[in-house]
């Protein structure tokens, strides 16, 4: 899988896709959506779609894609190759969402939570298949959040298509299983070949599973937290695990709109009307300086 674009810039979103098999333009197709890497604190999250004509679903199933969860990394890659070899009737596309994109979305001034990010990415990929001319008539999705709300949301987006949202869809529908394989293979490769933009001295990449409760992962995070810059961008800053370590190990940082307790308020409103005795008001600097944020330096 060619993730060259991601290697060039692994701070944003990267889309990779197969050519559209011509048969998928003419025959009615089923499309499956699935994700990989939702839980880990390290590395990107991947959303993938996989589609094929309804008439060839049995052939896809015959590839034994259903039990992707139990497969090893190399077996998954072998399966992905098989899906690709059957390129004349199976197509796929996927979005790699970098840890930086996930963190900045979740921590931005306008909060963009993980469920919304997941929903929008899945919707975007389905739309992408439609834009490429795939004749999608049925969509199967593993649920994120409440199945009913997700189903309604997708149905509203794609009224002409039959949408099925169900938990464990990757074990029920071959197109979802295949999508799951694509997603996992992409994430495995992205993580394995991750290029750290930061110059980390003698980096060891033995960070365990990448899941927050993995002691190895936790130890890795503690080792690589930098008091001023936090973590390398391989880490999802917005994860609770990462935040806890930052709160303990890193310097505090205040931003313009962070409410600070010691806000020196303007005093009580009544103080403007009732005379509580002379209010020692120092001689304010002239407007010229105030407008420019300048004041006399009393110390250095």
């Amino acid at each position: 899988m060619d993730l060259g674009e991601l290697e060039r810039d692994n701070t944003g979103r990267c889309r990779v896709s197969s050519p559209v098999p011509s048969v998928c333009r003419t025959e009615p197709c089923a499309l499956g959506v699935d994700e990989a890497g939702r839980g880990p604190v390290l590395g990107p999250m991947v959303y993938a779609i996989c589609y094929c004509p309804l008439s060839r679903l049995a052939d896809l199933e015959a590839l034994k894609v259903a039990d992707s969860k139990t497969l090893s990394e190399s077996e998954r890659e072998r399966l992905f190759e098989k899906i690709n070899q059957d390129g004349d009737f199976v197509g796929w596309a996927l979005d790699v969402l970098s840890p930086n994109l996930i963190s900045t979305s979740m921590l931005g001034r306008l909060k963009y939570n993980l469920n919304s990010l997941s929903h929008d990415t899945a919707t975007g990929l389905i739309q992408y298949a439609l834009d490429q001319g795939v004749n999608v008539t049925q969509v199967f999705v593993d649920t994120v959040g409440l199945p009913e709300t997700y189903q309604k949301r997708l149905q509203d987006c794609f009224p002409g298509i039959e949408v099925t949202v169900k938990a464990k869809a990757d074990a029920l529908y071959p197109v979802v299983s295949a999508a799951s394989i694509c997603a996992k293979v992409a994430r495995d490769q992205a993580v394995r070949d991750w290029r750290f933009v930061e110059e980390l001295q003698d980096l060891d990449t033995d960070y365990g599973s990448g899941y927050p409760n993995d002691p190895k992962t936790k130890a890795w995070l503690k080792k690589y937290v930098e008091p001023v810059f936090g973590f390398p961008q391989f880490v999802r800053f917005s994860w609770r695990t990462a935040q806890t370590i930052l709160e303990k190990e890193a310097e505090g940082v205040t931003w313009e709109d962070t409410p600070t307790e010691d806000q020196d308020g303007a005093g009580r409103i009544t103080s403007y009307f009732l005379h509580e005795g002379p209010r020692a008001r120092p001689r304010l600097p002239h407007r010229y300086f105030q407008e420019r944020g300048l004041e006399a330096a009393s110390t250095l």
Binding site: V228, T254, W255, E256, T258, P282, R283, P285, H286, R287, Y288, F289, E291, R292, G293, L294, E295, A296, A297, S298, T299, L300
Partner: protein, 216 residues
């Protein structure tokens, strides 16, 4: 170690190179508030600079391989030392007698004020704000309010002219500096300029003198 970021006039750069402590940071009285304020004294060119600091909350600096909290930006701009001298002249005027300068400029809180006496131009300037007597080749000075007001009037006029040439927004309408109409100058009338210039000069003189100047 606390680091400071300064914007300085270009020519000061070689001063600090030429003389070991060519530039000195000293604390002197602020003529406006009577409290201490930081000044920069250029030993070689015998020049005095006031230090203003640009302060906005929630900023920091990266300086080489370090981070400096606060994000303060300091400016050093030349200031007329006569403003500082006024503070001492007015203080000793209460005694009403002529005195040698080195008995006027005395301050145990800001002992570096004696550096002001090193400024050659200062003695020539004194006639703007004092009455002078010479006995046995020794000069004695006494604060003169009339002279001072006349001198300050010149300062106000110079400031007014500078405000105009620099298109400083002086009207007391609330106006965002980012949006101003083409005819802004016409709309800021003479009186606004005068009041603004007086206010600006008043940042360098005690309150009661500012009031006298306003009347004058």
């Amino acid at each position: 170690v606390r680091q400071h970021v300064f914007l300085l006039p270009e020519h000061l750069k070689d001063t600090s190179k030429k003389m070991k402590n060519g530039l000195m940071f000293i604390k002197l009285v602020s003529p406006c508030s009577g409290e201490g304020a930081m000044y920069l004294f250029n030993m070689s060119l015998q020049q005095l600079f006031e230090i203003k600091v640009f302060k906005e909350k929630h900023h920091s600096w990266f300086i080489n391989e370090s981070v400096q909290s606060g994000g303060l930006l300091h400016f050093a701009t030349p200031v007329d030392p006569l403003f500082l001298l006024l503070h001492y002249l007015m203080k000793t005027d209460k005694e009403g007698k002529f005195q040698p300068l080195d008995q006027v400029v005395v301050d145990d809180m800001y002992p570096d004020c004696v550096l002001l006496l090193k400024l050659p131009a200062l003695e020539k300037q004194l006639r703007h704000v004092t009455e002078e007597k010479e006995i046995d080749n020794k000069k004695y000075y006494k604060y003169s309010k009339e002279k001072t007001l006349k001198w300050l009037e010149k300062k106000v006029n110079q400031t007014k002219a500078a405000l105009k040439t620099n298109n400083v927004n002086v009207g007391n309408r609330v106006q965002s500096t980012a949006f101003f109409s083409g005819d802004q100058v016409a709309s800021d009338n003479e009186e606004d300029y005068l009041r603004y210039a007086h206010g600006l000069v008043s940042d360098y003189i005690p309150k009661e003198l500012s009031d006298d100047l306003a009347k004058y």
